[in-house]
């Protein structure tokens, strides 16, 4: 196995009865890469991602995440990945600090480590003043950034982001992507699904799913050349229209 490939997927398929939600997808993701996972609603992105993070059993195919098999080793996968869902998913009725402590706790960090992490995290995000404020009272952008940081609290090898920037203003989106870059520079692999085609340009490589299949996979630059498009939006439209 190539150690640089943190995600390896081969012919991964998920069927719900007769319906094939994910149809034999094959791809690799390298360490430290920002991998954009694109597709229209209902194309099978979320289902594919759920198989990779170990909460949905694939019907057939093969896949390893962080070196662990998605059929047999989901527990080990869970320890090595971070996940941020499209719904904002911190506890509104807990303070910033309590949220960090709680999530640090369920990932099994020691008390000392949690304290350390929580201090640096609050410092970096500039949340010092609101550290003891209920998260529910914070603006969405702050919550989103906090949520991302919390998903990285146990220094996972890979972080899965499911449409992380939905409903966020452009400035916050910009800052959010800076955080993603920072994480990638530190060696974390980022697997991100998104609706925003301009965000696809920020990714190292992009795959585009249509009807359960991966129809295109390459760097944004090469994809634009291949489809003779000015931007990713056009690439996507050309693909989606078939």
């Amino acid at each position: 196995m190539n150690n640089n490939k943190v995600i390896q997927v081969e012919g991964l398929t998920k069927m719900f009865g007769d319906f094939t939600a994910v149809d034999a997808i094959t791809f690799d993701v390298e360490k430290g890469e920002i991998f954009g996972f694109l597709g229209a609603n209902g194309a099978g992105k979320t289902t594919a991602m759920k198989m990779l993070i170990g909460i949905s059993k694939p019907t057939s195919g093969r896949a390893t995440v962080a070196g662990f098999d998605v059929f047999t080793n989901t527990e080990d996968i869970k320890k090595n990945i971070g996940y941020m869902s499209q719904k904002f998913a911190l506890y509104d009725d807990l303070t910033v600090k309590e949220n960090i402590t709680f999530f640090g706790g369920i990932y099994g960090l020691s008390r000392k480590k949690i304290k350390e992490k929580s201090d640096t995290l609050i410092e970096e995000l500039g949340l010092k003043k609101v550290a003891n404020t209920l998260v529910g009272a914070l603006p969405l952008g702050w919550k989103q950034k906090l949520s991302f940081s919390v998903s990285l609290i146990h220094d996972p090898k890979i972080v899965f982001l499911d449409e992380p920037t939905g409903g966020v203003d452009p400035i916050t989106r910009r800052q959010f992507w800076e955080m993603i870059y920072k994480a990638a520079n530190q060696g974390t692999t980022v697997f991100v699904t998104t609706h925003y085609m301009d965000e696809a340009e920020y990714c190292d490589r992009v795959s585009i799913m249509v009807n359960g299949k991966i129809e295109a996979l390459d760097t944004p630059k090469k994809l634009k050349e291949q489809f003779e498009a000015a931007n990713m939006n056009d690439v996507f439209l050309k693909l989606a229209r078939g």
């Binding site: 869902s85 719904k87 506890y91 309590e98 369920i106």
Partner: protein, 368 residues
């Protein structure tokens, strides 16, 4: 273990920061017990009645005195004419009118027989019944006093004795029922809501992706409610002992064990509900309709099961609350030990195991 403690801590934050759940948890039990204890009662006290006395002799005076001396009745007015009775009732001033016939005393001496008519306002049949029973009792007692010296052969005097609740206090009947309702509400409804809340907010997904195991999540969510339910049970028993002077005849230890068993069965139901509902509202509706209504209507708490139609009696068997009420009534009022309630306990235990099994299975299916 450390994960678990962190999880439970978080759960308590949720509960204590939400005024609504705090109210349901602690306001409701106290309010219900006090309401049922003081306001909703089958006993009558100081009922207003009117008297129409056609004879106005020594005997009727004595009877009237006895009635007004009892704490049950207050004589509100004297009616003069028969025709006024209807209007007195219509104005709603009194609940009953006693109508003494003419020459009451004379008749009594001459014929050994005199008549007094008890007219009650039966818009509330229970109260009407109780009033007439109470008046009857007072009359009987008076009659006995009169007949003290005369011996009549072959007289059957039924002597009723109410055991276990000699004063017929309705609070005795309500405490076990309210306790059942509260434990059901707190355990089943609150847990199902708190689990579906995590689903609704999307945090459940995050928890499932984390290394914490699904059953740890469930136990972590349920544990605080076991704890709070036990506190509630203790509060209810304390209230009934110290405010309503209702003694607990049997063993408090046994009562505690049985309560924990019932709490666990209710929690399992709560988990079951949370697996089939996607939103907090659905969870609440299912808990209220599916659990609370049967508990109130079919458990024998308010309406006696033996007088229900056959199909409903059969349905009542599958309601855990019914068995729990039998058990705690036995312990609290009759002071029985486990040898008299082992059958009910066993049924409850089997039900609990079944619900736990079912909810575990359902929960697993949902994860697939």
């Amino acid at each position: 273990m450390k994960r678990f403690i962190g999880f439970i801590k978080k759960e308590f934050f949720h509960i204590f920061r939400d005024r609504r759940s705090l109210f349901i948890l602690f306001g409701m039990p106290i309010a219900q017990i006090l309401l049922f204890g003081f306001a909703i009662t089958n006993e009558i006290n100081n009922v207003d009645i009117a008297i129409l006395d056609h004879s106005k002799d020594a005997t009727t005076k004595e009877i009237i005195n006895k009635i007004s001396a009892s704490k049950y009745f207050t004589i509100k007015q004297m009616v003069v004419r028969e025709a006024d009775i209807a209007s007195v009732f219509k104005k709603g001033q009194v609940k009953a009118v006693l109508n003494f016939e003419k020459d009451f005393s004379k008749n009594l001496i001459k014929d050994n027989k005199a008549t007094v008519q008890i007219i009650t306002d039966a818009t509330d049949p229970n109260i009407a019944n109780t009033i007439s029973n109470y008046v009857n009792a007072i009359l009987q007692k008076y009659q006995k006093e009169l007949n003290k010296d005369i011996t009549i052969a072959y007289q059957i005097i039924p002597e009723t004795r109410m055991v276990y609740n000699p004063e017929l206090k309705s609070v005795y009947m309500f405490v076990p029922g309210v306790m059942t309702i509260i434990l059901m509400l707190v355990s089943a409804m609150m847990t199902s809501i708190s689990i579906t809340r995590e689903k609704e907010l999307g945090t459940m997904e995050i928890l499932l992706v984390s290394p914490i195991k699904p059953f740890q999540v469930i136990i972590g969510k349920v544990f605080p409610y076991i704890f709070l339910s036990i506190i509630n049970a203790v509060v209810i028993v304390m209230l009934s002992i110290f405010i309503f002077n209702m003694p607990v005849q049997g063993s408090l230890f046994l009562l505690g064990i049985e309560s924990v068993l019932f709490i666990i069965s209710a929690l399992a139901l709560g988990i079951l509900i949370s697996t089939i509902s996607e939103t907090q509202q659905t969870a609440m509706m299912i808990s209220l309709m599916g659990l609370m209504l049967p508990v109130i209507l079919l458990s024998g708490f308010i309406f006696p099961i033996s007088s229900m139609p056959e199909p409903l009696q059969i349905i009542s068997h599958i309601i855990p609350a019914k068995w729990f009420i039998i058990i705690i009534k036995g312990i609290m009022l009759k002071g029985v030990g486990i040898q008299f309630i082992w059958k009910e306990t066993l049924i409850l235990l089997v039900m609990t195991v079944f619900f736990i099994g079912l909810s575990v299975k359902k929960y697993k299916i949902r994860l697939e």
